[in-house]
Symmetry: C2
Subunit: 366 residues, 2 copies
Amino acid sequence: MPTSTSARSQGSGSASIKAVARLAGVSVATVSRVLNDSGPVKGETRRRILEVVEDLGYVPHGAARSLTTNQTDTLGVLLPDIHGEFFSELIRGIDSAARRQGYHVLVSGSHEEREEVQAVLRALRGRVDGLILMTPSADMLEALRSVPPDSLPTVLLNCPPGVLPFDSINLDNHGGAMAMVRHLAGLGHRRIAFIQGPPGNHDARERLRGYRDAVQELGLEADRRLELRGDFGVEAGSRAGERLLELSPRPTAVFAANDAMAIGCLHALREARPEGIEVPEGIAVAGFDDIPIARFMSPPLTSVGVPIAALGALALERLLEVVRQRGNPGKAGAASPPHHDELPPTLVVRGSCGARSAQSHSRRKV
Amino acid sequence: MPTSTSARSQGSGSASIKAVARLAGVSVATVSRVLNDSGPVKGETRRRILEVVEDLGYVPHGAARSLTTNQTDTLGVLLPDIHGEFFSELIRGIDSAARRQGYHVLVSGSHEEREEVQAVLRALRGRVDGLILMTPSADMLEALRSVPPDSLPTVLLNCPPGVLPFDSINLDNHGGAMAMVRHLAGLGHRRIAFIQGPPGNHDARERLRGYRDAVQELGLEADRRLELRGDFGVEAGSRAGERLLELSPRPTAVFAANDAMAIGCLHALREARPEGIEVPEGIAVAGFDDIPIARFMSPPLTSVGVPIAALGALALERLLEVVRQRGNPGKAGAASPPHHDELPPTLVVRGSCGARSAQSHSRRKV
DNA sequence: GTCCCGGCTGTAAGCGGTTACATAGGCACT
DNA sequence: AGTGCCTATGTAACCGCTTACAGCCGGGAC
């Protein structure tokens, strides 16, 4: 009766399945069977094993298991950036959906250099079963073309379409932006400024396109000077707000490509010298995303409503479908053509745009 | 000469080190050596191997490597919740510090049930090299006492102290709160309301304690009805704001235990009927955390400044120290007593509290 | 010409699991 | 009693990688 490793039960690395087997007087195979509920095990044996497991506080070693089963129960999420409430909402959605399904989430954000992203992506092999890729920059996405071994199940979230052959989920940015401009126009505005997102960002570009199309469709004032630069940051929104006031004639409304910038703009207008501009009386303001705090702004922000957390959850669920189907490829080896989802945003009308119905606030499909 | 596995090179699971070895005409050991730069390899051999690696797009399998090296290059982060900008900031700080050090980050948030957390924690064995635990609830933390095998390097972030014997990082909540009350008192306020955080939350409790201590120290009006209920959510702040107005005499200032609630409160005051309350003229408002959007509120929010991202980064670096030292325990087997860090917040004065200096805004240590 | 040594490379033993296959009773049938 | 099958269990190969150890080779010292 060997006692060599018997004293290490409570040691550093936790016990191994072998220790359990020995203490229970069975083979590792049997232990594995009861742990995974695969194969038959006599009731009494099972009981004994479970008892030892409990005693030892044994937990199977993740990496070891991954090695044989070839699955990690972990999903990766590659984000461009993690600023602001948008991302906490997104992560929250992804995380809770993941846990519900028994998966872990590996996040990686703030990627700027192509090589850096490629490196991260590579390092993910053998660590995740699938990937949610959110990369609004076409350039960056392009750089990933050859990297994520086509083998890794992947879902694209808000990525420029057509670059990578994966399932994807996008928001109808164009439609949402048009709807907002129409709404503003319906309120009587003819000269509407637009604060752009980062150049090269797909969402930003689509929103700009929606703005332009609506302006044209409705015959509103089209003036390139109305299209202010921005980068989705609050600060940029604030600066845009300042520049807005130098325009003449001054626009009567401004539509920011996201809420962060709308908030920054709101701030700049209020702080304007010599005296602050009233919103919506002086200038109406609208944003995009409807992040949770939007309704608590002053005045409450009218915005294009995006179900952010739901978007994350959806992406995760789609990904899981792919992962699981990959598990048992029913002769359908050749991947079916990528599935593409486009989510409709809603119009969320609150005080900042000056609509009469804004007392409480209304929300409607676009 | 077996050819069994030779045709799978470009298959689904990427190539293995064996494939590389075979194609390069060397043994796996040599390949491993050049990949990890361990042991000597002739220049020409190295070149040949690297070439094959490149060709095959070979990337070592994470799980396999983890199994032998007993390290995963991944750190876990357990969060209580992922609402609002506080958490995106925190995650951002952690994530960027991690990447800088070559580590991945596994996040898991929104834990409510003790058993759920325990399960998650257990599942982490063999998946992470260490853990950042943020669990402001003493109850919950207590529930983890026996779970994370004492073996897993762990750092506590904003956790109630003294429950678990790990290194920890806390904010000086008490001091920050006192400083803010002193500031408010310095502005002439004698009747200051406080919006509490969730009961059972350590940070919230400390901030409340700071408020009370300062009230007593300065001989301000002490009235339990001034201590409004809250839960760190915007909504709760808004409701607290409404209740605030029913108090008589009405407080002249309100200090919320975090910015989200301060923002909600700001909103409620402005929307008050029959007519909105001016801030700071009618009531001064202050928050805690100084989340990035705070300064863009209307009026800009005075707050206790917390270097959120830095806090996350610091936690990660501390954790890494532990992890690495664990790697080579220089006879210092017995863990040294837990190291405890307490970060000082700053006072960030802006418009919402009515200080004269709030033109631009000032920031000072407390 | 031996011996020793150092540089380079291969062999094989794990790491901690899972699982195909073999083994061994037990029991119902023929 | 022999047969066959099902149940419960053990044996050992394997997942992909690292690494201790051993082997081989060439050159300088003696």
